[in-house]
Symmetry: C2
Subunit: 385 residues, 2 copies
């Protein structure tokens, strides 16, 4: 804080109000005033300004309670601010146009096999597909967010390594920016999953939470003190590459015994007795079948032990109030999650100190990373609307 000029204050307050509507949804002026600590006349001025620009609309709520004039609801207008969300996974890519408030307004997806997985092809296909979609819907995205399963430098979207895609040092942020013609934010998929959980999912309102997801690889995103944690130079740490099994399997990262090698997709295949190239759908189907088993924990054998061991580490190292399990982990039988909860609490001194750590499955489903990518794109946009 240095001396703040009135127009800076107004801009700041406008952005804060917009962010509140974006993440919290429709609200009355009174609720907005209370939440932002601003007086009613300032709120009126800001809402009038945003309504005049078509960014919000004011409406009588459908179910007005009590007597007297009902308080008007301020609604964010999804079409007023639209961003492009891109989710590049190992087997497929998806794009979506996401409006103010987080609503998905349209989407498209395609398989990534062979040559179509190369960075040039992915960028080209994303740009083409996004242009069609925008034209179809008559919308113009003002920024883009891209989720990638790799180590990403935040500042410029350089993908240092995405081993499961066989990408190495790809300047994805720059290439996407050139192809799309809008500002692009690139993020690690687990990091953006954490962001989505934090803004729209189980982590909403949490001050300290860890999001752990299993796909081909295993990754994590950390909310610390109410903000997304980032490593040096914007590289997020890689929770999946904690060594948990010295002398264990060799990992593609070059190290041995990484958590990913014990609880990632390949480990799930082994635990379920599936063949090495069984597709993801078969894994999910098998896990669904397992729910009817009398003892699914026993059926998964070692897998559950490694899951618990890594979760104990996550809880001991970060001291979160909440751990959210994403992607393939969400297909695990509830009995496995219950076992993990109990064992983590018993074995983690930090969990005991905290009086317990919540361990929940993500409820955002397959759109998780698209929603996270959208939030990364909205990050800088809302301040300038």
């Amino acid at each position: 804080m240095t001396v703040a000029r009135p127009d800076e204050v107004r801009r700041y307050n406008r952005a804060s109000l917009l962010r509140l509507l974006h993440t919290g949804g429709p609200a009355t002026r009174a609720a907005l005033a209370a939440e932002l600590g601003l007086n009613r006349s300032t709120i009126k001025m800001l809402v009038d300004g945003l309504a005049g620009d078509g960014v919000v609309e004011e409406k009588v709520p459908r179910l007005a309670q009590g007597a007297g004039r009902p308080s008007l609801l301020v609604l964010p207008q999804p079409q007023a601010v639209v961003v492009l969300a891109v989710d590049v996974q190992v087997e497929h890519a998806a794009i979506a146009l996401v409006g103010l408030g987080g609503q998905i307004l349209g989407r498209n997806s395609w398989n990534l096999r062979g040559r179509r997985r190369e960075p040039e092809e992915v960028v080209c296909h994303v740009a083409e597909s996004a242009a069609f979609l925008a034209q179809d819907l008559g919308l113009r995205p003002v920024a883009a967010g891209v989720s990638v399963p790799g180590i990403v430098r935040r500042s410029d979207g350089m993908v240092h390594g995405a081993a499961n895609l066989a990408w190495l040092d790809v300047p994805l942020g720059q290439r996407m920016g050139t192809a799309l013609g809008v500002p692009v934010a690139v993020g690690n998929d687990a990091e953006l999953g954490a962001l989505a959980e934090f803004v729209r999912g189980a982590g909403r309102g949490a001050s300290d939470a860890v999001f752990v997801s299993a796909d081909v690889g295993v990754g994590g995103g950390i909310i610390a003190q109410g903000a997304l944690l980032r490593g040096s130079a914007g590289y997020l740490g890689e929770i999946g590459h904690m060594t948990v099994h010295p002398g264990g399997r060799r990992c593609h990262c070059g190290n041995v015994g990484c958590w990913e090698t014990e609880v990632g997709e390949a480990a799930l295949r082994r635990a379920l007795g599936l063949v090495d190239d069984a597709p993801r759908g078969a894994i999910v189907a098998e896990l669904r079948e397992l729910r009817r088993d009398s003892d699914p924990v026993a059926r998964l054998g070692d897998y559950v032990d490694w899951l618990v061991l890594g979760l104990v580490n996550v809880v001991n190292v970060f001291g979160p109030e909440l751990v959210v399990l994403g992607d393939l982990f969400t297909a695990l039988p509830d009995a496995v999650v219950r076992r993990a909860r109990r064992e983590v609490h018993e074995r983690s001194m930090v969990s005991r100190a905290l009086g317990g750590v919540r361990i929940e499955k993500s409820a955002l489903g397959a759109d998780l990373k698209l929603l996270g990518a959208a939030e990364a794109a909205f990050g800088d946009v809302l301040a300038t609307v």
Copy 2:
């Protein structure tokens, strides 16, 4: 940022200037103006105010360079703001009065054995010793910071567990506050070590750093995005309790194979072939001896492997630019640190992505935790001087 009133702005700027002098030492008005982004007349007003209150002094530098009138140096006055720093370790306790700028103005220490290690006795002895010291020096501390090797709730200084002290659920912040009659901040020793390194040591200016120290236990403190990371409810995570050796030794925390069991004090004794109750001095002497050995890495055997494994995890999980090794780790032969540097880089994908992570020994010596405790105390004080 909401609307800032002129007196709030002045108070904020005064605190910022004081913090800069406290951490950066004496500086010219011109340097302060440049650093804080304030104009010269504002700086003059602030410095004059602080000088009038006896908090700073202005002096002609001893070696004025070039022609013309030399620029006056603004010096913080150590005696103007004094805090009490308390370092409770397993074998001994120390207190110090620390002045503005971080100078230790006086100190005292004593052994903790038997009954003297009980919380009531420690609090009582600290209060008594602090009163004597303050009287001797004619100083009056305005706040206190306490370092404890345990899990500490930041908000009120509740020590949930300090297993190596055999403390459980001790309301240390409250007791110390009552005994000392000043505000008290209690922190985990590794966390406060990290704070000291960040403000005055190897981590100065680092945006993302991890401090790892080995005493009886092994702990860590994390600087993320230029601020000390804290877990939920103020509990910091416990890096020493990452499981690195499934099926390994039982740890006092109730889990098995914690990093602490492989690289803490007891593990060093085993690696050096010392008896179980060999005192810390013997360990340090033996490590000093080891520096003359032709191959100290080989002499320490497995110990170095476990050290490297844990450091790989720390680097992969947090993605820091710098790792600082503290306490007993500083006594390790340089050859061991060089080996750790090389192996961590080879085995950590995050280190490779970052183009390398610096791994350094702490240079703050035995005063590290006292200095960290002092900074915890100064934290809230400088805004109100």
